[in-house]
């Protein structure tokens, strides 16, 4: 892909200077394509740098500022619905220019390429009863994770899980060696959740979580939803124009990160506090989910708050219903093992389908 100029964009990019980065790096005699690659995220808008624009609006304005040919550009996003959202945006705002857009399943590829294959844990521990029911790992204090922590405290579910809630200093019992590892680079109060680096193999204690539990309660990265309060105020209550409100309400998100892919890769059942219809999307890709273990109707609940609450209620139900022995037997039933094996194989083969772009 020597002819592609890939401009990597992350939440930490200096967005306001993006057009300068592009014009500086673009070599007309070399590059026939410019990829604006923001596949790490699935944002609706860019408010962390006080840019009052939707992500598509920002990309179009950036391209306009470069003065380069629109045909060169592809905007790559981490939202499954990228092309749908872009078509809706152009329609609502009556935008004539069109660039290519794409969803890139970065986190699927990244998990397959860079994470440790811990699936052997499933077989290794098949004759061992584990001390806890489920895992629940949480870094940044997003709304849905905060309510998860409150719910788990209130219902004494922490007793049944291996969990982290970094903002409450509730972390894994790290060894001295790992603790030092976690202190690099320097972590302060405001960024201590960054100690979790999803892009690489985790420290040994991390894997103990899976040795000790039977399923994962995943608090996925809910980009649009977790920023909902900010965006609701900016685009629904006081939209700059009615079109912004219309676009916000039409915008769809499915964002799957290493949190979910990791469960599949590790052969773990999961309850997903994620976007509307994520399980349906997974099924569309050929994966099987766990309606043989618990009710998965939560996936079809449109309202984010109601869906989150349904996930939490389900978690409690499952913990009430199963004992360690019965969940062990269920997870190691032929039916569930078949699902885990199927998903693992599909995860790997689909990952090979995904074009490698440099991480």
């Amino acid at each position: 892909m020597e002819d592609v100029l890939r401009i990597l964009i992350t939440s930490g990019t200096n967005w306001k200077a993006l057009h300068e980065d592009i014009t500086r790096d673009y070599k007309p005699n070399i590059h026939t394509k410019i990829w604006l690659d923001f596949s790490t995220e699935s944002w609706f808008s860019i408010d962390n740098q006080k840019i009052n624009e939707t992500v598509y609006e920002f990309m179009h304005n950036t391209i306009k500022d470069t003065g380069l040919d629109w045909n060169l550009f592809t905007f790559i996003h981490g939202n499954v619905y990228t092309q749908y959202n872009y078509s809706i945006w152009r329609e609502i705002f009556n935008v004539e220019e069109e660039i290519k857009t794409a969803y890139y399943p970065l986190w699927h590829k990244m998990t397959a390429e860079m994470h440790l294959d811990f699936s052997y844990q499933n077989e290794k521990n098949k004759n061992t009863l584990r001390p806890y029911m489920f895992s629940c790992l949480n870094g940044a204090p997003r709304d849905h994770r905060v309510i998860t922590e409150q719910f788990m405290s209130e219902h004494k579910l922490k007793e049944k899980s291996r969990y982290t809630f970094y903002w409450k200093d509730e972390t894994l019992p790290f060894s001295e060696h790992t603790l030092n590892w976690r202190k690099w680079p320097k972590l302060e109060e405001f960024n201590k959740h960054r100690a979790i680096d999803s892009h690489k193999i985790q420290e040994p204690e991390f894997y103990k979580v899976f040795d000790d539990t039977y399923f994962d309660f995943i608090t996925e990265t809910l980009t649009t939803n977790e920023r909902f309060g900010v965006e609701l105020e900016k685009y629904v209550s006081n939209p700059p124009t009615p079109e912004y409100k219309q676009f916000f309400e039409s915008f769809k998100t499915i964002f799957i990160t290493e949190k979910l892919w990791r469960s599949i890769y590790y052969k773990r059942p999961f309850i997903l506090m994620g976007n509307h219809r994520t399980l349906e999307y997974l099924k569309g890709l050929g994966f099987k989910t766990f309606d043989c273990m618990w009710n998965e109707d939560y996936d079809m609940i449109f309202n984010p708050n109601e869906r989150e609450q349904a996930c939490l209620n389900l978690l409690k139900e499952v913990c009430d219903k199963y004992s360690i022995e019965s969940i062990h037997n269920k997870v190691y039933s032929e039916e569930v093992q078949h699902i885990l094996e199927h998903n693992y194989n599909l995860f790997k083969s689909l990952a090979e389908d995904i074009e490698v772009i440099n991480f």
Binding site: V80, Q83, S87, I99, K100, A102, Y103, Y281, D353, E355
Partner: protein
């Protein structure tokens, strides 16, 4: 540009679909049956389930790209289901199928004025969401060489023979009027040609017979004159087998039985030996349904909307008509016209209103510089018929010299039309973009 509807380079490759698979064509005949009728059984459940199943075969993020084109095929008749236009069930399906929006559904019919009907239907029902409706000139394919994909018995792509020499000359007949199915307007034409005494001036066939014309029943004496067979030996084949088996095998599936590598031009004789064609189109703007016939004192005339009321065009009795007919408007151009455009033969149409105007809109030239075409503007089908037949009668009175002059004047028109037919790379369509509030935004040559 329409990049994003067919581009997915970076996603899971095994889910990539060819761009054609995003456009799912559904023949309405598969649901309502091959027999062409106005009233149809409720097909909502079957159609909805098939649409849902196809849509679900795409992953969630691809579903917005999928379009469903519900094709009425080669017909222009209203499709009435549960006493309402088909639009009602298509709207219902758009509302009830997950991940499907109205704009992903297209209803394609041979009625080129369908946007007007749809616009009225939306207004009448106070509906703002819109599906796409398209008037498609599907039958143009039969006489457009570049659109051909017909193969013979051996699987070889077959060519089409057409006339290229339009040199003016004196011809033995004035006109050609070939008729198979005995629609009322064709029987009316028989009566009129007989009344004018010009049956002998044309190469005329009425291969099948009905006892009813538009204005009246045929007398026994008139019935006894029929059929008039010119182009078909009824002892050897039926008129239907003749037209579709021999003269126009490309229209149905007869081509696969043929050995020739070029479809011979069975109409050449008529084009060479007459100055123009009287094209008795399939439709003249009257719905093909039994409830349009007057039942007053065994009248059996056609009931036609006039001054906001439905009146019999024979006895002028008012009649109550089904509600859907209030917005009925059917305009149809068939292979009978396209054949003449390819072969360079002038035409007078017994057809739906604005046939000539629509042809001009599509970029063809018609014959208003040769004779009066104002009949094309007349709304009432019987009045329009009378004006057109008066023109035919007038043309039959012209001398050979006058015809040589008219042929000379016709040459650029015929060549233009033929060239356009030869260059067509897709069938012609009238979409919403060609209309304003349902009315055609006419482009005139």
């Amino acid at each position: 540009m329409n990049y994003n509807n067919e581009w997915n380079e970076l996603n899971y490759k095994r889910f990539y679909r060819h761009k054609d698979q995003y456009n799912q064509k559904i023949s309405i005949m598969d649901y309502v049956g091959a027999e062409n009728t106005v009233y149809n059984d409720d097909i909502t459940d079957g159609l909805k389930e098939d649409i849902r199943t196809h849509l679900k075969s795409f992953t969630l993020e691809e579903r917005h790209k999928v379009n469903f084109i519900i094709q009425q095929g080669l017909e222009s008749d209203p499709v009435i289901i549960n006493d309402d236009w088909i639009f009602a069930i298509l709207h219902k399906i758009a509302e009830e199928v997950d991940d499907l929006t109205h704009k992903q559904i297209t209803f394609e019919t041979g009625n080129w004025n369908i946007n007007k009907v749809y616009n009225k239907w939306l207004t009448k029902n106070n509906i703002s969401e819109q599906i796409n409706v398209v008037g498609a000139f599907e039958l143009i394919r039969i006489y457009s060489p570049k659109l051909w994909d017909y193969h013979n018995k051996d699987g070889v792509l077959v060519d089409l023979d057409y006339r290229t020499d339009f040199t003016p000359k004196i011809k033995p007949y004035v006109y050609t009027a070939l008729n198979r199915a005995p629609h009322r307007h064709r029987m009316e034409l028989f009566l009129k040609l007989k009344e004018f005494g010009i049956l002998g001036k044309g190469m005329v066939s009425f291969n099948e017979v009905s006892t009813d014309a538009l204005s009246r029943e045929l007398t026994q004496e008139e019935i006894n004159m029929l059929p008039i067979t010119l182009d078909v030996d009824l002892e050897k084949s039926s008129p239907f087998e003749h037209i579709y088996g021999e003269t126009m095998p490309q229209a149905f599936s007869y081509m696969e039985q043929k050995e020739y590598d070029t479809v011979p031009n069975e109409f050449l004789n008529f084009f060479e030996n007459s100055y123009f064609s009287v094209v008795t189109e399939t439709k003249i703007g009257i719905p093909s349904t039994d409830d349009i016939y007057c039942d007053e004192n065994n009248c059996d005339g056609v009931v036609w909307p006039s001054e906001g009321k439905f009146k019999c065009i024979r006895c002028e009795t008012q009649k109550q008509m089904p509600e859907w007919t209030e917005i009925y408007d059917e305009k149809f151009i068939t292979e009978k016209t396209w054949r003449n455009l390819l072969n360079g033969h002038p035409m007078v149409w017994i057809g739906t209103r604005h046939t000539a105007k629509m042809l001009q809109h599509l970029g063809f030239k018609t014959f208003n510089s040769l004779w009066d075409e104002s009949y094309d503007e007349v709304r009432n089908p019987l009045d329009r018929f009378y004006m057109a037949t008066n023109i035919i009668n007038e043309l039959c009175q012209k001398t050979d010299e006058e015809w040589l002059e008219l042929q000379e004047k016709a040459l650029p028109i015929l060549k233009h039309n033929q060239n356009k037919m030869l260059e067509l790379e897709d069938i012609l369509r009238i979409t919403k973009e060609d209309t304003l509030h349902g009315e055609i935004k006419w482009k005139m040559s």
